[in-house]
């Protein structure tokens, strides 16, 4: 009698497990996508757009579940990707190299996020007070600099510039702070130099007390500043759902870059950032970062920047990204689908 009861329980348990596993197979693929700031990173805007116009991302919630997660900077994402807390990480060139050499992650460059210095778009600015202690780059020695995260694109670019002027990391003090808070820190005299994004430039520059000391474009020329990286094993395991995601995402990016949608795009931006509209007027214009409409990253620029980082000592070890660490098949498949009117 007892043995039958036990067998019944075990059978029910196994059936439950099977049902659960079967159910899990049908559940949408969780895609936690990290982002740092917007409108540079389009991910949070795309999520908001999908809420207002579900037809733009029809597969969201079905084959994949799109979840943007905010990070303060790209290097902070490396452990999260290693732990699989996030599936798509927007990397700076330096962060990508570090993920490969230090974190031993088998990652792939899959899509463009933003570029600086291309075709007259936003060049990336480092701002100081006009009457402050820093008049030339050499004056940065011994001063305090705010950065969003050590090793991020803005941070690594700055270090390259400083090393070219003979200033080592130990010669100045770095403080980590969100991009949004850096202008206030500069105004209150807490730091002497900040990395200024266009959405925070309006109020600060209107005071007339600050000016641009140098730009990222002066350091690297055209820079593939931030691009999406994913783990190779994840791409391999979930290719169909990922192609669905990239197709929908690309459709959304096209929507944002289309001048016809500009008014609504700005409305979405205001809703997501809670910043006043006048500060955001630059978005999706030439004063903004450059976004490749087909999400194609400039691989040559990535290699050039990594090589320069290694040359000056910001990165410890060189990585040859192409062809092993590049996988553009997802965006190519997405483009093909969109072309066929998917």
């Amino acid at each position: 009698m007892r043995r039958a009861a036990v067998l019944r329980i075990v059978a029910a348990f196994l059936a439950g497990m099977a049902a659960g596993a079967g159910g899990a197979a049908a559940a949408p693929l969780k895609l936690a996508v990290a982002w740092v700031e917007t409108p540079g990173h389009l991910a949070p805007l795309v999520a908001e757009l999908a809420k207002r116009h579900p037809e733009i991302m029809p597969n969201d919630g079905k084959t994949y579940k799109f979840e943007p997660i905010r990070f303060r900077g790209t290097t902070a994402e490396i452990p999260a990707l290693a732990l699989n807390d996030i599936q798509i990480a927007p990397f700076s060139d330096a962060a990508f190299a570090l993920a490969v050499t230090n974190a031993h992650l088998d990652v792939r460059i899959v899509a463009d996020v933003l570029q600086t210095g291309r075709k007259g778009y936003f060049p990336g600015e480092y701002v100081v007070a006009k009457n402050g202690p820093i008049k030339t780059i050499a004056d940065i020695r011994g001063k305090r600099v705010a950065t969003n995260t050590i090793g991020s694109e803005a941070d690594a670019t700055m270090r390259v510039m400083l090393r070219r002027h003979g200033i080592k990391d130990s010669d100045f003090t770095t403080v980590e702070a969100n991009f949004a808070n850096q202008p206030a820190m500069l105004e209150e005299g807490k730091v002497d130099m900040i990395e200024l994004l266009p959405q925070f430039a309006h109020d600060l520059m209107a005071t007339g007390k600050y000016h641009v000391l140098f730009t990222a474009a002066q350091v690297h020329g055209v820079s593939e500043s931030v691009f999406w990286g994913m783990r190779a094993d994840f791409i391999k395991a979930h290719r169909p759902a990922l192609i669905d995601f990239f197709t929908d995402y690309m459709r959304a990016v096209h929507w944002f870059l289309d001048p016809k949608n500009r008014k609504e795009a700005l409305a979405i931006l205001v809703a997501v950032t809670h910043e006043p509209a006048q500060n955001l007027a630059f978005a999706f214009t030439k004063h903004d970062f450059y976004h490749d409409p087909d999400l194609v990253p400039d691989i040559a620029a990535v290699q050039k920047e990594i090589d320069e980082d290694v040359r000056v000592g910001v990165l410890p070890k060189r990585v040859v990204v192409s062809p092993h660490y590049v996988d553009l098949s997802l965006i190519e498949a997405a483009k093909k689908r969109l072309a066929h009117g998917a």
Binding site: D85, N178, A180
Partner: protein, 278 residues
């Protein structure tokens, strides 16, 4: 071999800086008034704060007026932000501390009881106690991410030491006569541990938990300030980042008072627990 702990070293905690006799002698018949009188200096400080900001002596950017802080506190409470984050933080601290007590108390008692365990564990204890546990924050974040797991494990590690040490010392102090008579009456070793040694060590253990409680709060706040996505420390961080200083002050004071309240609450538990023991 860990020497006898001085009460003071474990925090000098007897619940007050003043020896209790003196306080009682002063006002034996009006305890409430004594309490108010005792805490009047804090009231004075609060008045000083309000006065300094209102008079313009101190810039409101640097020190928001006390009533603004109070209003901000109320706003955070009403919006639910404060309760939600406080619940997360307190749950983390409780979980970490609870686990530390569950693991550390038996370990300490076993260390006192069985010589080989003591000899094996002692060097680890001696090596680990001078290390600032906050040095483990980056590793915890590396292994467990930004969520609650890293906080709970860090608090577990940080609180294990005071709990284990106090259990060890408490168990060591058990009177041998009690142990002998129990054994001679046929009690098993396990029973002796449970019914003689543990109760005898209880005052010391409870005192050790009090120290561990303070550590738990410190480690919780430190980790949440440095690497978190929720919790009171995280709240302080993003309020400060956003320049909302009156709300930031409100949360800082909340955290500080929670730590104080937890300590006093534990003291009550201690007194109850020990009185019941008589």
């Amino acid at each position: 071999m860990a020497p006898e702990p001085s009460r003071l070293a474990l925090g000098g905690r007897t619940g007050a800086v003043l020896p209790p006799r003196a306080a009682a002698r002063r006002r034996p018949a009006a305890p409430l008034f004594a309490l108010l009188w005792r805490y009047t200096p804090i009231l004075l400080l609060a008045l000083l704060w309000e006065g300094a900001t209102r008079s313009g002596l101190v810039s409101p950017l640097v020190l928001p007026a006390l009533d603004r802080v109070g209003a901000a506190w109320w706003g955070l409470l009403a919006s639910g932000d404060l309760t939600r984050n406080a619940a997360i933080s307190l749950a983390r601290a409780a979980a970490g501390l609870g686990l530390a007590v569950l693991c550390g108390t038996p370990l300490g008692i076993l260390m006192a009881w069985f010589r080989p365990i003591r000899i094996a564990c002692n060097p680890l204890v001696q090596a680990l106690y001078p290390m600032p546990k906050s040095a483990l924050i980056p590793v915890m974040v590396l292994w467990l991410g930004f969520g609650s797991a890293s906080k709970i494990v860090l608090i577990l590690i940080g609180c294990m030491l005071p709990v284990t040490l106090s259990a060890f010392n408490g168990a060591r102090g058990t009177e041998e006569v009690l142990v002998w008579s129990a054994r001679s009456m046929g009690a098993s070793r396990a029973r002796v541990l449970w019914e003689i040694v543990l109760p005898s060590a209880l005052p010391e253990i409870l005192s050790g938990i009090r120290t561990a409680l303070a550590f738990a709060f410190v480690l919780l706040v430190a980790t949440e300030l440095i690497a978190a996505r929720a919790g009171l420390g995280y709240m302080i961080g993003w309020l400060g980042d956003g320049g909302v200083y009156d709300a930031m002050f409100a949360v800082v004071l909340t955290v500080a008072l929670l730590g104080f309240a937890a300590d006093r609450a534990w003291l009550l538990v201690m007194r109850r627990g020990l009185r019941w023991r008589e």
